[in-house]
Assembly symmetry: D3
Homo-oligomer: 262 residues x 6
C-alpha cells in the first residue's frame, strides 16, 4: 500500500505543512497540489465543497505525492466512510466532544475487528494499492477536532480512545465556545491557555496535535511549542489577500492626477 | 440598461483594473469579484474554463458592480454571440490579424444594422435590463487582441475598423510571434517596441489600449505610458504565488534542528 | 451586516411572498429571482436539489435583493450549518416534532453562547458582510416545520423554545399524518383545523407562521387569517402548468379538420 | 430504427407543437417532456445551454416519445455532427444565408454518399436502434433558419438544395435584419411580408415551414397559414410569466391596509 | 402507477438480475440500462456516486424498463426519502443490525399510516404516475442489508418487522465482521454458513433474499439455493476486467521480437 | 519537460496500445488509466464528451504514466489549442483531407516559428513542467486522420507536410467514404486496400500509422503489417460487451424450470 507521508514525517518528528481547499474545483486543487504542501485538506464542513466535487479534487491531488485529507462535515458514518473509500489518507472530524464521539469516530474509520467501517474501498484501491484493505487501519490518520468547552472537560477521556491518531484544533470554534472572539492566531488568553492545555494532554497521550493558522508566523510558533500538523491559510484566503494587495497597490495609479496627467 | 463601468472610467480618462479568472468555478469568481477589481475577465481561450461554467462565473460577478468580460477562444461567431447573450459587457478576441478579422469581430458583436449579431439576449436582458437590445451596441466593449507580426503589418487597417473600441495586447504571444521569449513584463526589445507602437497607433485612432501584466509595477508603468485597461496576474497565479511564499517561509521550520530540538 | 428583508417586513406586519425552487439550476434560480418574490427557498428536502447546485443557486439569488432561504433535508447539523455558511438567511427544517428537535434546531443555527453552530461562514461573510459573525444569530430566520400529529401534541413545548423565529406548515405532510388526503390548499377538515390551531398557537407565542400554497387564492386567504410567510407553487409546477395550458390550447389546431382544411 | 414523429405528423399534414428549452438542466427538461409537446428543442445558440448539459437533457426527453431537436449555435460541423451522435432527431441551424450554407448543412447532417457526416453515432445507436446508420439520413429532420435579408435574396437557391427538409423562421432576427423591431408575434409589416414570402416559397419547394411564436394565438394563426412546426414560448419564459402573474396577484395582499387590518 | 418489475418477477418466483453502477455518470448508466439487466442499482454508499449525479443516472435508467434501485449511504431519513422522491423503485439500506434499525428503515420508506415518509414525490410522480402516492408503499421494494455479526444475532427480530420486503447480503462486509477475508464469491466457511442461515431465515419469514456476486457462476449457484435478487459485478469492474484482458492479450505483440521483426 | 512515452516507444520501434474514452467522467477515466494502456484518448468528436469534463479526465490520466491524447471534434484552432493547453500530449484531428488541412493542423499545434499556436499552457506547465514552452513542439504528437476518398487523393501532399508526426485511420469513416459498410475490423476490400495504401505511404514518408480496432485480433494483425499505434475497443464498448456476456450467461438461470424447480 502507498505509504502515508504524514506518518512518515511524524516518525521522524517532523511537522507536516497542510494546505486548505475551500474552492470546490479540481483545477485549483491541482494548482495547490503542485506548490509543495505536504498535505492538502478538502474542507467539506464549512463553505462550499461537497461530495460531488470531492472526487476530482482528490484525483487532482493524486497527480502528486501530497497527502489527501478530508475534513468531513460532521461525525456521521456515511460521509466518513465515503471519504475513505474515495482515497482520503486522513480524516479530520469536527466537534468530537465526548469519549463516545471519539469511539464512534475510530469505529467508522476502521475495518473490523478494530471498528465497523463498511467494506468497499472503490477508489482507495486505485490510489492506495491492492493491499489497501490489509493496511488501511494502520495507514490512514484520524484527527479528532477539539474545539468546545465540552471537549475540554472530556479531554483525557477522548484522548485515551485507542485508535485515535491525532487531534486538530480550530482556534475560532474553540474561542467561540469559551466566550472569546473567534480568530485563528491571536486568540484571547482563555483560548490560548486551552490550546496549550490540549497540546500538552495530546502529547502526553502519545497523539499528534494539529492546528489551523492564519499566518506562517503563528504556524512556526506553534510548531516550536509542539504541534506537528499546521495548516496555513486556504486557497480562497490566499486568492483574496493577493488580490487585495494588487488592488491596493494599483489604487493610486488608476486616475489622472489633479493636474490632469498620470 | 445597466451602464458599463469600463466606458464610464474611460470617459473620465481613468484606467481600468482588470482581474483574470483561470479557475473554472463560480465560488472563486465570487471571491475575486469582491476584492475591488473594476472588471474581471473569464478566459475561455487558454486553460480550463469552458461554456458550462461560464454562467455561474458570470452570475457570481453579477453579485457585484464589477464588469464581466469574456476572452473568447477564437474569432468564431457562435461563442462570441453566446458570451454576449450570457451578459458579458466586454469581449476580448484573440488573434485579430487582419482588417477582415476586425470587421468580422465587430459584425459578430453588433446588432443590425451595425453588424449581424443574432437576436436572443437571454441572460443579458436580466443583467442589463429590458432595454438591452436598444443600447447593447453602444454599451459593450470590443477588444481586438493584437499579438502577431501579421497584425502589426495590418495595424492601421485593423484600427480603422468602425465599431472597434479597444485593443488588448498579450505580451507573450506578441513576443513569440516576433521571435522573442514569451513573458508578460520584461519583454525583449523588439516586443517592447511593438507594444509602444501598438499603443501609439491605437491612441491615434481613438481606441483604448489594454495589456496583460504579471506585476503591479509593470501595470503602473504601462498606465503611465497610456494604457487604460490593465490586467494583473490571475486567480490561479495569485494562489500559486501565495502558496509558494507560505511553503518557502515554512520550509526551515518543519524539521527538528541537527541538535534534535525545534 | 446586510439586513434580512423577511425580518424587516415582519417588523411592519407585512406578509412575505416566497417562491420555491425545485429545479436544481442557477439560471432558472436567477430567472425566478428577478420576478419580484420577497424570498426564494431552495428545497433540499424533496426532489432533486443537492448541495452541489446550492451554491450557484444562492449566487443567482444574490444578484438581487430577494432573500435566500434553504429547506434542509432533515434536522442534521452538517447540512444546516453548511446552508448558513453558504449564505442562507433563512432555514426551514422539516419534521420538528418535539421540544428536543426544536432545541437542536436552534442550537445548530446559532453561534455560542446561544447555540453550537460551528464557525466558518465562508460565503456568508461575502454575502452578509464582515460583521456577519456578530449579527448572524439575530439576522437569520429559523422556521420549524410543524407537520405531524406528534408535533401537534408537542406544539406549545416546541413553540416556547427560545430562539425559534417561525413555524412553517407543509399542508400535505400534515394531512397525511392526520389520515387526510395530501394536498396544499383544499385540505380535509381535520387538517384545516390543525392549521388554524398551529397558527393560533404560534401567534400566541410571538412566532410568525408560514405555509405552502398551491394557488394565490389560498395564499391570500391564509394571509388574512394571520400567516406572514406564504409560498405559492414552485418553478417546476409553474413550468408544467404553463406548458399544459399551451398544449391544451393548441390541441385542436394541430390537425386538419375532417374536411381536410385547417 | 425508432421513427421520427415529426415526419409521421407531416406525412398526415399535421402540425408539430414544439417546446423550447432554455434552462440548462435535465430535470426541467424531463418536466417539460411530460407535458405533451410533440417535440422539444434544446437551444444551444442563445442563452445558457451548452454541450455539457445536452446529454442529460436529451436523456430526459428520451424517457418520453417527444422528439428531441437541437438548435446548434452555428453552421459548424463539430457541433452539428455531435448533436446527431448524441441522438438528436432534428437539427435547427441558424443563419443559413446562401446556397453554399444550405449545402454544407445537408453535408454535415448526412452520411455518404449524401453528405460527409463522420461516423460514430455513439448515443444515437442507443436511442434510435442498431439500424440507425442505415436510416439516419432519411429519419432526422434538417431545419435551415431563414432570418436575414441576405437569405431572402437567396431564398430559392437555398430551398432547392436537395436534402433540406424544412426551414425555421426566427421572427426577431428576421425583423432586425429588415430594420424592424425584434419581436416574435406582432412583427412589423416588412417582416410579416417576408414571413409570408418564405412560407410560400418553402411550400412551393416541398419543404415544411416552422416558426417561433410568443403565444398560442400567433401559433394557431400561423398553422392556418401553412406552418407545420410551431414553437410557443420557452421553459424560462413560461416560468417568468407564471411568476409575474403570481407576484402581481399577491401584491395587494401583502401589506396591512391603511386602517391597519388585512 | 408504473408497476415494479422486481415484484412481478418475484410473484412468478423468478430471480431478478441486477447490475451495479459505480461510475457517477448518466451516459454510462444509459449504456448499462440497455444491456438487459432487470434492475440497476446506483451505489451511493461506497465509491464515488453522489446525490448530484443520481438524477441523471435515474433519468438514464428511465429511458428503459429496467428498475431503478438506490443503495443509500446509511440508515438516514434525508437521503432515503430523497432517493424515493427521485423515483427509486427499490432502496438497499446498509448495516441494518437491529430490529430498531429495520423499523426505522420501513418508517422512512413508507407514507403514513405505515410510516413517516415525508410527502413530496417530485420526480417519482413523473416516473411512477399521478397515483404514485396511493400505491408507493406497496410498490417500492425495501432491502435491509444483513452484513454484521450483530445483525445475525438479531436476525429473526429484524426479519419479522412488518413492511420489510427483502434482505441483501454484502458478502465482503459479512466476512469482515465474522473475521473472514472480505470477498464476494468464495467466502470462508463461517461466512458461507452465515449466508445460508440468512437465506433460510429470510425465506422462512416470507422475505426475498438478494446478494452481491463477483461472477455469474456464483450468482447461478445462489439462485439455485434460493436467492431471488442477484447482482453480478459492476460497471467499473467490467470495464477494468475487459481492459485487463485486452492489455494482457496485446502484451506480447507490442514489441519487435529479439530477431528484430514483429 | 516530461517525456512522451509514445515517442519513446516509437524510437524503439515498439507499438503503442491506446485505450479509448467515450464515457465523460473522471472516475471511469481513472479506472481505465490504471489498467496498463500506454495511452488513452479522450474522444471529443463522437459521442458525449465535452470540454467541461476534459479537465477531470486528463487529471485522472495524470495520476499515472499513461499518455493523454485528445481527439478533437474538428480542425478548429480554438479546441485544438485548448486541448494542448490542458496538457494533451497527443492530438488526433479528424477529416484531414487536403494539404491545406494538414498545414493548418501543424500550425495550430506548434508555437512560432513552427506554427501559430497561441501562448498560454495553463495546465500543460503543471503536467509537462516549467520548460514546456521550449520543448512542446517536439514532444507532442500530431495525428492527422485519413478517412475520406478526398484524403486518399491528396495523400502524398498531406503526408509531406513538415511537422506532421503520424496518421490515424478511422476504418468506419474510410469505409463509408469509399461506399463500403462502416466497420472497424473486417472492412470491405476497397477499404482494406486503402488502409494498406495509407500505411505504406505514411511509412514511406517517415510517419507513424495508427488505427482503430474492434478486437485484439485485428490490432495484432495490423501491428504486424506496420501500424505502431493501435486502439482497441472503448470504455463504453467494453462495459456493454461485458454486460451482455453476463446477461446472456444468466438468462437460463433466472426462471424456474418447467417442472417448477430451479
Amino acid at each position: 500500500m502507498r505509504t502515508n507521508l504524514i506518518r512518515e514525517k511524524w516518525a521522524r518528528d517532523e511537522a507536516v505543512l497542510n494546505g486548505w481547499l475551500a474552492v470546490p474545483n479540481g483545477f485549483s486543487a491541482e494548482v495547490m497540489a503542485h506548490q509543495g504542501y505536504d498535505a492538502l485538506t478538502v474542507d467539506l464542513q464549512h463553505g462550499v465543497n461537497d461530495e460531488a466535487n470531492l472526487i476530482p479534487m482528490l484525483q487532482a491531488i493524486s497527480t502528486t505525492d501530497t497527502v489527501p485529507v478530508v475534513r468531513v462535515p460532521w461525525l456521521a458514518p456515511g460521509i466518513i466512510m465515503k471519504a475513505l473509500d474515495m482515497g482520503a489518507y486522513g480524516v479530520i472530524c469536527p466537534m468530537v466532544n465526548t469519549r463516545d464521539d471519539a469511539e464512534k469516530f475510530v469505529e467508522y474509520t476502521s475495518y473490523a475487528p478494530m471498528g465497523r467501517r463498511s467494506f468497499g474501498p472503490v477508489r482507495a484501491l486505485i490510489y492506495g494499492g491492492a493491499d489497501y484493505p490489509t493496511h488501511a487501519n494502520d495507514t490512514i490518520v484520524r484527527f479528532a477536532m477539539i474545539e468546545t468547552a465540552e471537549a475540554l472537560d472530556n479531554l483525557d477521556a477522548i484522548l485515551s480512545v485507542e485508535g485515535l491518531d491525532a487531534i486538530y484544533i480550530g482556534p475560532s470554534d474553540l474561542s467561540l465556545s469559551l466566550g472569546c472572539t473567534p480568530t485563528f492566531d491571536d486568540v484571547d488568553p482563555p483560548a490560548a491557555e486551552a490550546i496549550d492545555y490540549i497540546l500538552e494532554r495530546a502529547t502526553a497521550h502519545g497523539l499528534k496535535a494539529g492546528i489551523h493558522n492564519g499566518t506562517t508566523t503563528a504556524a512556526k510558533a506553534r510548531i516550536e511549542k509542539g504541534f506537528r500538523f499546521v495548516t496555513v491559510s486556504s486557497d480562497a484566503r490566499i486568492m483574496a489577500a493577493g488580490s487585495q494587495a494588487i488592488v491596493a497597490d494599483m489604487q493610486g495609479s488608476l486616475k489622472p492626477s489633479e493636474s490632469g496627467g498620470y
